[in-house]
């Protein structure tokens, strides 16, 4: 085999290999997402989700980023915002809110909506509107019309949570609410509070990242 032919074959293999490597990199990048968390089934057409918001993750690639955490039916807190819930069902949500208040940029989101009874419960007390400056985050699924402001814990709290996952022994507010899912599909959910400390107007980093302050609600048929 001539040197020229060997060179041609080598070049072809390199180009092909490079192409496959680039393709794999792109595919893996697009496929990379946090593990989905299944809602616990608590009755016919009813499921329950448990979430927590933390001021800082405390570990991983972005230890100082604010984030949501989700709890599996096995009661394990995982760093994921991909939530799986049944279609045409009531979803009972409990959010343990450990972060302090940032304030809403748009006060409109201070009113819970898209919920059963359009009411949320903060530490067991029904709330129909939250003063915008008291909000720390929101849990919002715009395509389902769901928006829930989450009141922050006091800056003077004696035992604030320093890193995730936080425990019930640390200062927190417990917010509960119920919404109804519709047809199967993927719905994005997000926080509407500009809560990304260190970014311009608080809108970068965790506010732009699935797994932190953005997620997907995977509504699945039976």
């Amino acid at each position: 085999m001539s040197a020229r032919r060997v060179g041609t074959i080598l070049a072809a293999v390199l180009v092909l290999g490079g192409g496959v490597a680039i393709g794999l990199y792109v595919a893996l990048f697009l496929e990379a997402s946090p593990p989905p968390v299944q809602a616990a089934i608590v009755g016919p057409h009813q499921a329950a989700l448990e979430l927590q918001t933390v001021a800082e993750v405390g570990h991983g690639e972005n230890p100082n980023w604010v984030s949501y955490y989700s709890r599996t039916p096995g009661h394990k807190w995982v760093h994921s915002t991909i939530l799986r819930v049944p279609a045409h069902a009531l979803i009972h949500v409990t959010v343990y809110q450990y972060d302090s208040a940032t304030g809403l940029r748009n006060p409109l989101w201070g009113q819970p909506r898209g919920l059963v009874g359009n009411v949320m419960f903060v530490n067991g007390v029904p709330v129909k509107v939250l003063k915008p400056e008291l909000a720390s985050h929101t849990f919002a699924i715009p395509e389902l019309g769901v928006s829930v402001p989450l009141p922050g814990v006091s800056e003077e709290a004696k035992n604030p949570c320093s890193y995730a996952p936080c425990t019930l022994a640390e200062a927190h507010n417990t917010i509960t609410f119920t919404f109804r899912t519709g047809d199967p599909g993927k719905y994005r959910w997000q926080c509407f509070v500009p809560c990304a400390a260190g970014f311009i107007f608080g809108f970068g980093g965790p506010m732009q990242s699935i797994g932190y302050m953005d997620g997907e609600l995977e509504v699945q048929g039976s």
């Binding site: 940029r105 006060p107 409109l108 009113q111 509107v129 715009p142 395509e143 990242s209």
Partner: protein
């Protein structure tokens, strides 16, 4: 073949011209009558109807050009097809400039370009009912539609990643859905509270940039009751592709009912909303 014969245009050219003329005479009216009404953005508003007419004019101009290109392409394939492999590898006849041809194509393209420039300038200028595009924060008086003074003001607020709407003539009511009365001139004041978005009411043919710290005014008059989708037309972050909102154009009576319903629905938060201002820059912003 003599050298004089080589310089003559192929005899098929005359035939192509006549075929082109016949096809164009048939195709252009058909396109205007049947394709035009189906062209985007439709006719749900005065601006949309105007844009649809513009698109129809441009398609009507493009159709004869497209037919001419296709015919010439097909004619060339037939005329210059090589029956002999050896001949196929030889050069074709030499080409030479022809002043008449040059004058013809320069004149035709000049007329087309000049016409489109004049037509575009005329159509871009806001007409009686507005052009649908953003006119800046303080539109000059000649750019205003005839009934601008009686237009329904609606503030459009872009935010990552949704739209909300304020109705200053209804107590500064803010909603998550855009509802407009039919046959009523509307004055949109488009702004943003974070990054640059673009308010795109596709069916109404309104597209106006939403820039934080300023307002962008756009006029439109919806002329048909229908529901459609509003999108963001400026890449604005993670959920840009999901930044949609619902638009409904309803009768004036239904609009009043909707306003009453929304005022009751959003009553709890109303006292916390800031007073209406053309530019919406609410606090706090300290976190960032």
């Amino acid at each position: 073949m003599s050298s004089d014969d080589r310089l003559k245009p192929p005899p098929e050219l005359r035939r192509i011209f006549w075929i082109w003329l016949v096809l164009s005479v048939i195709a252009v009216p058909l396109v205007v009558i049947f394709v035009g009404p189906a062209l985007p953005p439709g006719s749900a508003s005065d601006a949309a109807h105007g844009q649809q007419q513009d698109n129809t004019v441009m398609v009507a101009i493009v159709v004869p050009i497209m037919i001419g290109l296709l015919l010439y392409f097909i004619g060339s394939l037939i005329r210059f097809r090589s029956k002999d492999e050896v001949d196929g590898l030889t050069d074709g006849p030499a080409t030479a400039g022809d002043p008449r041809v040059m004058v013809l194509w320069i004149s035709v393209t000049f007329v087309i370009v000049l016409f489109l420039a004049a037509w575009g300038a005329y159509e871009l200028f806001p007409g009686e009912d507005g052009a649908g595009g953003g006119l800046g924060s303080a539109p000059i008086s000649v750019a205003l539609p005839a009934d601008a003074s009686s237009a329904l003001p609606v503030q459009v607020i872009g935010q990552q990643w949704t739209w909300t709407y304020r109705y200053p003539t209804y107590g500064g009511l803010e909603t998550t859905e855009l509802v407009l009365p039919v046959n009523q001139e509307v004055r949109f004041s488009v702004t943003s509270i974070d990054v640059i978005h673009s308010f795109w009411a596709i069916n109404l043919a309104v597209k106006a940039d939403a820039v934080p710290g300023t307002t962008n005014v756009a006029f439109v008059k919806p002329v048909r009751e229908e529901a459609s989708t509003i999108r963001c037309a400026e890449l604005c972050g993670l959920w840009h592709g999901h930044m949609t909102s619902r638009l409904r154009v309803v009768s004036p009576a239904a609009f009043r009912v909707w306003i009453a319903h929304e005022r009751a629905k959003w009553a709890p938060i109303q006292r916390y909303l800031p007073p209406y201002k053309p530019t919406y820059a609410p606090e706090p912003t300290y976190r960032g």
